[in-house]
């Protein structure tokens, strides 16, 4: 017991919060398997959570980056809708029988780059509050989406449909269906993209100069600049990366739903912020971890699944449970951090 306390004391803030998140997620999933059984014992349920939340995962990673540097970006959700709509319209235009997928991806990335450069410049070099800048970005994306096209429509482009239907089967994992045939579990391409990004960002944050600079800037601006870190450039890069990640997330979302609509990904920015917080990233900056964010996304969607499995059909229970969960996590973080500062 004593050694555990000592260990907790010696852990960095980031690792401590990460541990809490991971433990809670596994506890939740194990409890769900034990008490609910049914769907949760099938591997596909877990992979479906990944399939549905691949884009949220990418958005959350970007959000964590920005939050680690002490900023915030609330434009990512509506940006997802904008990317979906632009790509959908491009792929479905009658002229020349629609565009090809590669150009569509380029369009998505271009939107992300443009957004990132403008927002990053305003935040880092003109010192405007990130909340207001991304608020304007959110409004702009919301309006532009409806200006491009006001109603929902499905993309019929064949090349895109083939890409959308691509499944990656996982060997040795799966369930036997009613007819006694073994059905392997699968994931969509988006999940692979998301997981690769998670690993890359984890490495960047952990072992590169840039990653350390993110933490330093978020922890303390003055000491970061005294260490010789280019604070403005670091902030700029964080916002740039967040917006580019948001556009990739938008493309993944687009691959998952295959349509364009102004109401796509509504409220995704708040989900991304919530996931980051559950994953142990602090809005005050300097503390956070991409792996934590990954588990944050998983926890958030698992609790949603559990609530619907429990039979609380009314839509409001999901939101209320999620809110209670965020509340509990925030309180735990607050209490743990206070204990730690006191015991020092």
């Amino acid at each position: 017991m004593n050694s555990l306390k000592l260990r907790v004391k010696n852990m960095s803030d980031t690792n401590l919060l990460l541990t809490i998140t991971v433990v809670v997620f596994f506890l939740m999933y194990v409890l769900a398997v034990i008490f609910l059984g049914g769907g949760f014992t099938k591997p596909q349920t877990f992979f479906n959570i990944l399939n549905e939340n691949a884009s949220l995962l990418i958005l959350s990673c970007g959000m964590s980056l920005v939050m680690i540097t002490g900023g915030i970006d609330i434009s990512v959700g509506t940006m997802t809708a904008l990317v979906c709509m632009s790509c959908a319209v491009y792929l479905d235009t009658e002229i020349g029988k629609g565009g090809n997928v590669v150009t569509a991806i380029c369009i998505a990335l271009a939107i992300g780059l443009a957004y990132g450069i403008v927002q990053g410049f305003l935040v880092a070099y003109l010192n405007i509050q990130p909340f207001i800048v991304s608020l304007a970005g959110m409004f702009f994306a919301k309006g532009m989406t409806t200006i491009i096209k006001a109603d929902q429509f499905n993309v019929k482009n064949e090349e895109f449909q083939a890409l959308k239907a691509t499944r990656i089967y996982i060997p040795f994992l799966g369930a036997v269906n009613k007819k006694g045939i073994f059905v392997p579990a699968y994931v969509e391409i988006g999940v692979v993209i998301a997981l690769v990004l998670v690993v890359v960002l984890f490495v960047v944050l952990r072992w590169t100069k840039l990653g350390r600079a993110f933490y330093a800037v978020g922890g303390n601006l003055q000491s970061a600049s005294m260490l010789g870190i280019n604070v403005k450039l670091t902030k700029f890069l964080a916002h740039l990366m967040c917006s580019v990640l948001a556009s990739i997330g938008g493309w993944v979302y687009f691959m998952h739903v295959g349509s364009g609509s102004p109401s796509h990904a509504a409220g995704a920015e708040m989900n991304a912020i919530a996931s980051s917080i559950i994953g142990g990233t602090m809005l005050t900056g300097g503390v956070g971890n991409i792996i934590g964010t990954f588990f944050g996304v998983l926890s958030l969607s698992t609790i949603k699944n559990i609530v619907s499995q429990l039979g609380f059909d009314e839509a409001w229970w999901t939101n209320i449970t999620v809110a209670i969960m965020i509340c509990i996590f925030l309180l735990i973080q607050s209490i743990v951090m206070r204990r730690k500062t006191k015991s020092k």
């Binding site: 309006g143 809005l283 607050s334």
Partner: protein, 367 residues
């Protein structure tokens, strides 16, 4: 001689203008003036106020200006509370829209009874209003407690209610949409019979008077600024930062209740997912447009209120030019970015430096 005199006065005039631009009031006033001039050039009939009749046959004022003041009421009331919260806690409450849904839902639940189909009012409006205020203040206190006692950043703490608020509102009324049949309830969101000015304007003005009196005769303004600038110094001076932050959130709760009352009264019913949607963003924008720092500290209440009116003025102007309501945010965003960039200290400094250069150059040329 006269020439040098001219250049001197020109310089002082330039300096005066520069001084004006540094005032906090400059940005909202300038934005308002720009909008007024734009509308005057585009279509002077924008400013016409006509005497018309409403469906009940009473004489009422109509015209774009009346619409602006009428529709801005809720935003102004919220901006008052949001300014205090921003000043004291250095963050914003993003749950006000959801809290309005809760307040409105509580009110309708009391007025319409549990099944939501009662023909007459189940309770006097004043009782319903007081209970709705209490509930909203309770939720405000919840946010405030998280922020002040648990030291959670305001935006994150209010994210909880932002996520759950509309669901709680639906849950209170069992997801039904109660309709108030009593006509007297709709007076507060529309017109009192015989009075040609919309009631929300009176309510907003009353709120402004109350907050002006409070700021003048109590230390609320001073204390919340002190706490916002440096909580430790505030504590050393004998203030309790936690309690003051909590009080500002409770005041915001009260503002939310009033705004929710107006919103519900306008339609005599409620739509949980749509009512007061995105109003939190507009309220924060109003505070920012007023030139207040979103990081807490000093604030200017009048500038925030002006900011709220500027936002509504812009919205109504865009509507008048037949912009689709769903495309409206795009234009709003462009205006916001322009305003925010112009009011950024770095940009202002550069502009003033450039201004000085040109004036000194012209002075040299004259010499």
């Amino acid at each position: 001689m006269t020439k040098t005199g001219n250049s001197l006065t020109g310089k002082s005039l330039g300096a005066q203008i520069l001084g004006l631009t540094r005032k906090q009031f400059f940005i909202p006033i300038a934005a308002l003036l720009a909008l007024v001039v734009f509308n005057l050039i585009a279509d002077p009939s924008f400013f016409e106020i006509k005497m018309g009749q409403n469906s009940a046959g009473d004489p009422v004022l109509s015209g774009y200006l009346v619409t602006i003041f009428d529709n801005a009421s809720e935003l102004v009331i919220l901006a008052i509370g949001m300014t205090l919260v921003t000043a004291a806690s250095g963050g914003q409450d993003i749950s006000v829209g959801a809290a309005i849904a809760i307040a409105g839902s509580v009110m309708l639940r009391i007025l319409c009874g549990p099944d939501g189909k009662a023909a007459e009012l189940q309770a006097p409006i004043i009782v319903a209003f007081i209970i709705c205020c209490l509930v909203a203040m309770l939720f405000g206190a919840f946010n405030g407690a998280l922020v002040s006692y648990f030291k959670i950043p305001p935006m994150v703490a209010t994210l909880i209610l932002f996520t759950a608020g509309r669901s709680i509102a639906a849950w209170i009324n069992n997801n039904q949409l109660p309709i108030v049949n009593d006509i007297s309830f709709s007076y507060y969101g529309n017109f009192f019979p015989g009075i040609p000015v919309p009631t929300p304007i009176f309510i907003a003005v009353a709120c402004m008077i109350v907050i002006a009196l409070v700021l003048k005769f109590t230390n609320l303004g001073l204390y919340s600024q002190t706490v916002g600038i440096n909580p430790h110094a505030a504590r050393l001076n004998g203030l309790n930062p936690e309690v003051i932050k909590l009080i500002t959130y409770i005041i915001l709760g009260l503002c939310v209740a009033v705004a929710g009352f107006i919103k519900v009264s306008r339609f005599s019913t409620i739509n949980y997912s749509v009512i007061a949607k995105d109003i939190e963003m507009d309220a924060i924008l109003a505070v920012a447009l007023g030139g207040n720092s979103l990081g807490g500290g000093k604030f200017n209440m009048a500038a925030s209120i002006m900011g709220a009116y500027v936002i509504q003025f812009l919205t109504t102007t865009l509507y008048k030019f037949n912009v689709v309501s769903s495309a409206l945010p795009a234009y709003k965003a462009i205006v916001v970015i322009i305003l925010v960039v112009l009011s950024a200290p770095i940009v202002r400094e550069k502009i003033s430096r450039a201004w000085k250069k040109t004036t000194s150059k012209s002075a040299k040329e004259v010499a």
